[in-house]
């Protein structure tokens, strides 16, 4: 039941967001017809095209038309590239998904590990070092870190390529991986602090809780206490942070893909916005909304999975 309820809620939010996206983009000054015709627009051609595109229909008709074609997977045609948006979008998404997945696994695993270590060694040298490391991470802009890494690892020490993307093949595995290396490092380092800080503070809290004290009183070893009792509870809050990080990740991907000339979703989005390519923008916004909703849904479900109190209707 809980799952169904969450699913329904997600669909409602998705609907609201996509409608908002449609509305907001309609407010753009200068309509699509003007954008397509550019400087060659004469009042007559403008009128004809507006008619053809159905721009004079009432807003609700336009909205329904857009909604139904979007649901059928028809995302329209890019005004600038003059090609259908859907295939371009899918390809770009696939490439960004590689970056996002690797980054996500890295921040989830390393971020939590660092946070837990810092908590166990609270106020010792390791903790202070890790806190400083995390502080620099949240303070450095993604694009600057990316450029510094390029200076270090492709100009001074030519180990990794500074930009671009190579399709995956077994024969050029290293080539493929080397193009991903600097972008993922950049994304990981700028995002990891959120999770590290969260897991550190929740681990510290758990270590001070009564049941840990009880376990200590029973004479359990420190290792057992941490691994069997503390860890599981300490990692729960980091699920939320991971879900929230999805929003950051999308912003980060837009910047990092720009810096590394990586032909993914982020760059397509920035391109669409800069060129005022309305169909591209709309499609990208819908994708962001969907991704965000799915991320939150997964977080909620994970939560209910690890914390039965939520599943059975008692808010934790």
């Amino acid at each position: 039941m809980y799952i169904l309820q969450r699913l329904f809620y997600t669909l409602v939010i998705l609907f609201v967001i996509t409608s908002l996206v449609f509305l907001v983009l309609q407010v753009l000054p200068g309509n699509v017809a003007k954008m397509i015709l550019g400087q060659y627009a004469t009042p007559e051609t403008l009128k004809a095209l507006e008619e053809k595109l159905g721009l004079n229909d009432p807003l609700i008709t336009q909205y329904l038309r857009w909604l139904s074609s979007t649901l059928r997977g028809d995302l329209g045609k890019s005004l600038v590239m003059e090609r259908p948006v859907a295939p371009i979008l899918l390809q770009a998404l696939g490439r960004s998904a590689i970056l996002a997945t690797i980054t996500f696994i890295l921040i989830a695993v390393i971020g939590n590990l660092l946070g837990v270590f810092a908590a166990i060694k609270q106020d010792k040298a390791l903790d202070i070092f890790l806190s400083t490391f995390a502080l620099v991470g949240i303070s450095v802009p993604e694009y600057f870190l990316g450029i510094v890494l390029v200076i270090l690892f492709s100009t001074l020490l030519p180990i990794f390529p500074s930009s671009g993307y190579i399709p995956f093949m077994f024969s050029n595995l290293w080539q493929w991986a080397s193009h991903l290396f600097l972008p993922t490092i950049t994304l990981t380092y700028t995002l990891i602090a959120h999770i590290t800080r969260m897991s550190r503070s929740s681990m510290i809290e758990v270590l001070q809780s009564n049941y840990v004290k009880y376990a200590e009183a029973k004479g359990l070893s420190r290792k057992d206490i941490i691994l069997k009792h503390a860890l599981k509870n300490a990692l729960i809050p980091s699920i939320t942070v991971l879900a929230l990080d999805f929003g950051w990740l999308i912003g980060g991907i837009a910047l990092v893909e720009t810096v590394f000339a990586y032909p993914g979703f982020g760059r397509l989005l920035v391109f669409g916005i800069m060129q005022r390519d309305l169909p591209v923008m709309q499609a990208c916004m819908v994708v962001i909304a969907i991704v965000y909703c799915i991320a939150n849904l997964i977080a909620d479900l994970l939560y209910s999975f690890v914390d039965p109190r939520i599943r059975f209707g008692k808010p934790a």
Binding site: V140, F144, W248, I250, I288, Y292
Partner: protein, 287 residues
């Protein structure tokens, strides 16, 4: 940290009437940055937009301490003027989102029930979109500029401030003195601004100083992508973007503004975190 005591860290330090070191570092850096921003006209050795064509992309030297950029403009001077613009964007937009967010948050927390639910759902939806993307969308609709960036960043972060303000005001709303004010049938405005607000200044200031870090970063990102501050003016983000093409030949164009941005953000982070710890201790002491 300090060799001083075996007492639990924070309290010991407070008792010694000294402030924690990170907080001190943060606040002195902020003062320094503000001084630079205010006295940019006197500090900068050259105008920020003066071309020196014979010294394009010159390495740092006595004449140009941080080198020159692709037009032969003095990087140090641009950095100093950039400090003014970047800080103005960061602090200005933070003040803006506090100005909008705090009253909305207070109102939402005070009213509760349906109004609260309604306001918070709207805030959730705005927060759910990546802030950089909203920023770019708004800026592309109209012609970008520094002042507009301040407004846009302020708008984007308003929901975050609303959330924090609402959360802290919820704990105050249930207190007896609010009940008393209700019994006296005071106006909503009076209760919100005269009764609740004075009790939550601490968390709001902490939120504000940490919000500055996000604001500086977001405004910088927008400038970096060309939709913030416009040339020939310079903020740190735009300077990084300009120098990016010449990173192989003249890395100093990029390094110094990037470093400045890191330093500023670290400073506000240290300040905000330190402030939170201090207020936390005080609140715990008061019970």
């Amino acid at each position: 940290m300090t060799s001083s005591s075996r007492m639990p860290g924070r309290i010991a330090r407070l008792r010694m009437k000294t402030l924690p070191r990170p907080f001190l570092i943060g606040s002195s850096l902020i003062v320094l940055l503000l001084l630079v921003a205010v006295s940019a006209d006197y500090l900068a050795p050259y105008p920020y937009d003066e071309f020196h064509f014979l010294q394009r992309m010159a390495a740092p030297s006595g004449n140009h301490l941080l080198g020159t950029d692709e037009f032969g403009r003095d990087v140090l001077s641009r950095l100093i003027f950039g400090t003014r613009i970047s800080l103005m964007m960061g602090i200005g937009s933070t003040l803006l989102c506090l100005g909008f967010g705090v009253p909305i948050g207070l109102y939402s927390g005070f009213k509760g029930r349906k109004i609260d639910e309604f306001i918070m759902r709207i805030m959730d939806i705005i927060i759910s979109f990546p802030s950089l993307i909203i920023g770019l969308l708004i800026m592309v609709v109209t012609s970008p500029g520094t002042i507009k960036t301040v407004f846009v960043v302020g708008m984007i972060f308003t929901p975050h401030v609303v959330r924090v303000t609402r959360a802290v005001s919820l704990s105050i709303v249930k207190k007896d003195f609010i009940e008393a004010a209700r019994a006296r049938s005071e106006s909503t405005r009076f209760m919100i601004f005269e009764e609740i607000l004075p009790n939550i200044w601490g968390p709001i200031i902490v939120e504000g100083s940490l919000r500055v870090t996000y604001a500086i970063l977001l405004a910088g990102s927008m400038s970096f992508l060309g939709l913030g501050t416009q040339p020939p003016q310079a903020d740190w983000g735009l300077m990084v973007a300009d120098g990016r093409m010449y990173v192989g030949e003249a890395p100093w164009i990029v390094i110094s503004p990037g470093m400045m941005m890191c330093i500023a953000v670290i400073a506000f982070n240290l300040f905000g975190d330190g402030l939170r710890d201090l207020l936390d201790v005080r609140m715990r002491k008061l019970g």
